[in-house]
Symmetry: C2
Subunit: 350 residues, 2 copies
């Protein structure tokens, strides 16, 4: 539960301050290049690759931290306080990155923190959507068990693709659509276990809730991309700052509603351990990586990235925790790999 | 065991005499057409579709007959006699079709039965390959259990693709290769059950045997196509006649070696039932359909056709026998469907 709750929050953004500096350096100073691709295009591609790889490894290590924390035993910390700290850390990192930029470039129209109501009014919407989704999450377990929910969560892949098409009006080629269906089927196959068939007995209300949750999650992701991309020249750290301020506000409300007594009696940091701290750090950095992917790539890349992370996690868990890989995992991993190939092969023939 | 033994024999050819007549009619009289595709091309496409659909339904009903016969209890007939009868029936049907053609068109260079040693010497090779493969089949069960063998048989898909490329020197596009890998992964996924993971514990000799058997089976299929396509104008019924004569000879030897005593003591037709008869009829027609697919399409089409048949069988079994479909089946069926789509989408961009 902790995992899911924290994880669903991290779909906003942030700032890997050093990385940004480097990337901006590459992007705007036009580093000399041996290939005949224009340096500007090459820098864009490089930046996209760096943020995607960062997201993949952060997501993957996130899952490994969760397995590790489960093995180490339950920690009785308040999930809401951890979520609040994740948002606060992201906010702090965004401000730190901005401070460096102001120092080197001065305050400009694009990197100033002050904003208009017109710009800022939409920022709380993704955080609100995640909040509604997290509330629904408590009720879906009346209809589906936890492993079943893990399976149903793969519907997010399809909903993201559909909403990406409808809301952002971006086209995927037919081959890329086929690849996207395969990604969903492959991820689900890789997660199959002996109890997965239970999910077929899910009742109609259970299915409806799962689909609504997938749509909320997909909509939140696509809407975040829309907000960030609406002002391409606006500095990502400013955009992240406003996103995370909303996140902090919603999580503060969640602390008051859910964990007020625990925090009052046992303290804000009760039950925190080294793993909790690492998880908060990881979630903050992952959230920032998600924002970067939204800015420099898109939701489709994000979905591929987190899917590949899921496979990486399983492989790493074999070495770290002695997990066994199933035949279903190998088959699912094969299908996901082919899907990644088809997504890029499908691009060429547009 | 009966199933597998009969099934592995049916990779040769035959003649659906009425169908041929119709198809020849379409192919050579040039039926008027509304589309702007040349009538000849249209007829070729139609013929290819008819034989592919026929193969799909015959293979699918084959599997259903096997389930039916298993449910009805064990029949103690000799598998070798059944195989011999299948070959004999295919031979008889080829001759009957030839007789009709001779009557209407007269005996020509292309449809005469007499042949040269040069033409006929290669015909026993596929039958011999299947014989070796069937012999190996007895030994592989020392290393793999029956459900594991069903899973490993999907290696045939990959071996057929590779040998098709190497021996027939025909190219598949990159997308079509991706589709072929997906076909293999999808078929295996659809067959997953709680005991499938055992197959990962297969020892090295087991894997080697499975790969050798896949190569033998793939080679036999591809070699049959090479023989049939080497003389495109030669009548398919003549080619089938010589293929099946070889099959009859090898199966006669198999009766002498394996079931001589049983046939002598209990008679050739001991243990035959209505289901046995239907199965023999079905195998003969399927064998003929395979030959037609080799002549008018290729091994790749054959593999797709039999894979789709496997899915159809499972769906029909739900209605006929009350089988339950698993989540793995739905996922595998999705992957196979996307693969079929990609195979034809991949063709366009060659």
């Amino acid at each position: 539960m902790e995992y899911r709750k924290i994880k669903d929050e991290d779909n906003d953004g942030g700032t890997l301050s050093n990385d940004i500096e480097n990337l901006r350096g590459i992007g705007f100073s036009g580093v000399a290049s041996v290939s005949n691709v224009p340096p500007r295009e090459q820098a864009k591609w490089k930046r996209k690759t760096v943020v995607t790889v960062a997201l993949t490894f952060l997501t993957s290590s996130q899952a490994i931290l969760i397995v590790w924390s489960k093995r180490a035993g339950k920690y009785e910390y308040s999930v809401t306080t951890a979520n609040f700290l994740v948002e606060t850390l992201k906010c702090a990192l965004s401000l730190a990155a901005l401070a460096r930029i102001w120092k080197s470039e001065g305050v400009t129209e694009d990197n100033r923190l002050s904003t208009t109501l017109d710009e800022v009014i939409v920022y709380p919407i993704p955080a609100l959507l995640y909040l509604v989704k997290n509330l629904l999450q408590y009720y879906i377990f009346a209809y589906v068990d936890a492993p079943g929910y893990q399976i149903l969560k793969n519907l997010n892949i399809i909903s993201t693709g559909v909403l990406y098409r409808i809301i952002l009006k971006k086209k995927l080629s037919d081959i890329q659509w086929a690849a996207f269906i395969l990604l969903c089927a492959g991820c689900t196959t890789a997660q199959l276990n002996s109890r997965s068939d239970h999910v077929l007995q899910t009742s109609l209300p259970g299915w409806i809730m799962a689909i609504v949750m997938a749509l909320l999650s997909g909509f939140a992701g696509v809407y975040t991309e829309a907000i960030i991309k609406k002002r391409p020249s606006r500095n990502i750290n400013v955009q992240n700052f406003w996103l995370y301020i909303s996140g902090m506000a919603f999580n503060a409300i969640a602390i008051l509603i859910q964990d007020f007594d625990a925090v009052m009696n046992k303290g804000f940091f009760h039950g925190y351990s080294i793993i909790t701290t690492l998880m908060i750090l990881n979630h903050a950095l992952s959230g920032i990586a998600v924002s970067m992917v939204m800015k420099y790539a898109d939701n489709i890349v994000k979905v591929y990235s987190t899917s590949v992370a899921m496979l990486l996690t399983a492989v790493v868990s074999v070495f770290l925790f002695g997990f066994n890989l199933t035949l279903a995992f190998f088959l699912g991993a094969t299908v996901v790999s082919v899907s990644v190939y088809l997504h890029s092969a499908g691009k060429l023939q547009r």
